[in-house]
Subunit: 242 residues, 2 copies
């Protein structure tokens, strides 16, 4: 049976997250439902990056094993056509049998958007921060993240992981007009990591936390030392690299 | 009584348009409601540019005459605080008594966004066009709009206007990644004009209408000769120039 890679985009606003949950709509479930509706097949769709409630994705990837009868060129359109408008399958392609959306991933790239002015149009896709931010300090924090570190200070308390080490390939803040974006690529991310990093860096940008404390927070391996999590609606899973 | 200019942004998705209507929420009404709630005053808020149902605005302007007791520095925040999240007052400032949001306007700038790929995240803020478009032809159309023309071919049939002449200061298509944007500035716009222009240019971009017919359509002064209106959700009132 061919292994099929699906490239997925969603507006996370009205989802409980990627993963199936009893108490609401998950993206995973919508895709499984679409497959059931078209092919009368029950299967589990494995995603490459879990996203929490309210988090968006431009580059989520999943893989499924489906019968050879499918027309691969039509599959993305077929699935999108029967799903609600806040999730689409951008591409479907046959890949090698070993490909696994999650385990084959070499890196993931996330983006976090902050609007420095009040906005009605962008409100679902950014965190609105009105305090004056010292972006230079925030850039120094981003630089401090590069390379291998233990990120336990930026991980949700209950995490089912063996270790907290992540290798950050790139991290930086980009400012365009009134939008400030943090982009980070790493081999892996811990639960809540990007939002905890952004919340802490914004505290530093606001002057509520001292810049020199950022490294101490990182070294402390204590989530309580870091800042609040930045809200979900600013976060985008941009890309999974294989 | 001081004359106050309000700069307003809204996500038009869930509005019947700027102007009051019996059958749904209008932006005008939300602002009047907010004023009533805060100041217990009934008044009419005049907008500088009417937008239809589903059309967005980043730069709508209105003016109101309000008592001197108001604290002008707080007004924008006060109004925004009591309104639903899809409309905000970005700025409030006292202006000369002669200023009228509509009659004092010298020009207006609109933008129309097209996504050339399927998108879940941008779906409320663009028209999704998947046919291959000849952008060079569309740029030639935009050039043909510059200067003074009679735009009756691009005006909704029932328009309460004396004449159809508009003076186009600038018009052009900008392509960034998969987003194609049409921006146009003119002294005035007729009802449905930008959407009719975009619909017609997209027909040309698709090859359904010949490029050389664009000038004939413009000269015909016949709405039936032009293309379908592009959908509302791609249109933004960007700025009103005074």
């Amino acid at each position: 049976m061919p292994n099929i890679r699906l490239d997925i985009e969603y507006d996370g606003t009205n989802f409980v997250g990627w993963q199936y949950q009893k108490n609401g709509r998950s993206v995973q479930e919508e895709i499984e439902k679409a497959i059931r509706q078209i092919f009368q097949i029950e299967l589990r769709v494995h995603g490459g990056g879990r996203t929490d409630a309210g988090v968006h994705a431009r580059g989520q990837v999943a893989n499924i094993f489906l019968d050879e009868n499918i027309k691969i060129d039509l599959l993305a359109k077929q699935l999108t056509a029967v799903m609600p408008h806040d999730v689409i399958v951008k591409k479907a392609a046959i890949v090698s049998g070993e490909f696994h959306a999650r385990h084959s991933a070499k890196a993931r790239r996330y983006r976090y958007r902050i609007s420095q002015t009040s906005t009605a149009i962008e409100r679902r896709f950014c965190w609105q921060v009105f305090s004056k931010l010292n972006v230079d300090s925030m850039r120094e924090c981003a630089n401090a993240l590069l390379g291998d570190h233990d990120f336990q200070s930026f991980c949700k308390a209950i995490a089912e992981v063996d270790h907290y080490r992540c290798s950050v390939h790139s991290a930086g803040w980009i400012e365009t007009n009134q939008i400030l974006e943090f982009e980070i690529t790493a081999n892996r991310f811990l639960h809540g990591m990007v939002r905890a990093l952004v919340g802490t860096m914004v505290n530093i940008g606001r002057g509520h936390t001292l810049l020199q404390d950022f490294k101490l927070i990182l070294d402390s391996k204590d989530r309580a030392k870091a800042g609040m999590s930045a809200p979900a609606q600013g976060l985008f899973l941009e890309e999974i690299v294989y």
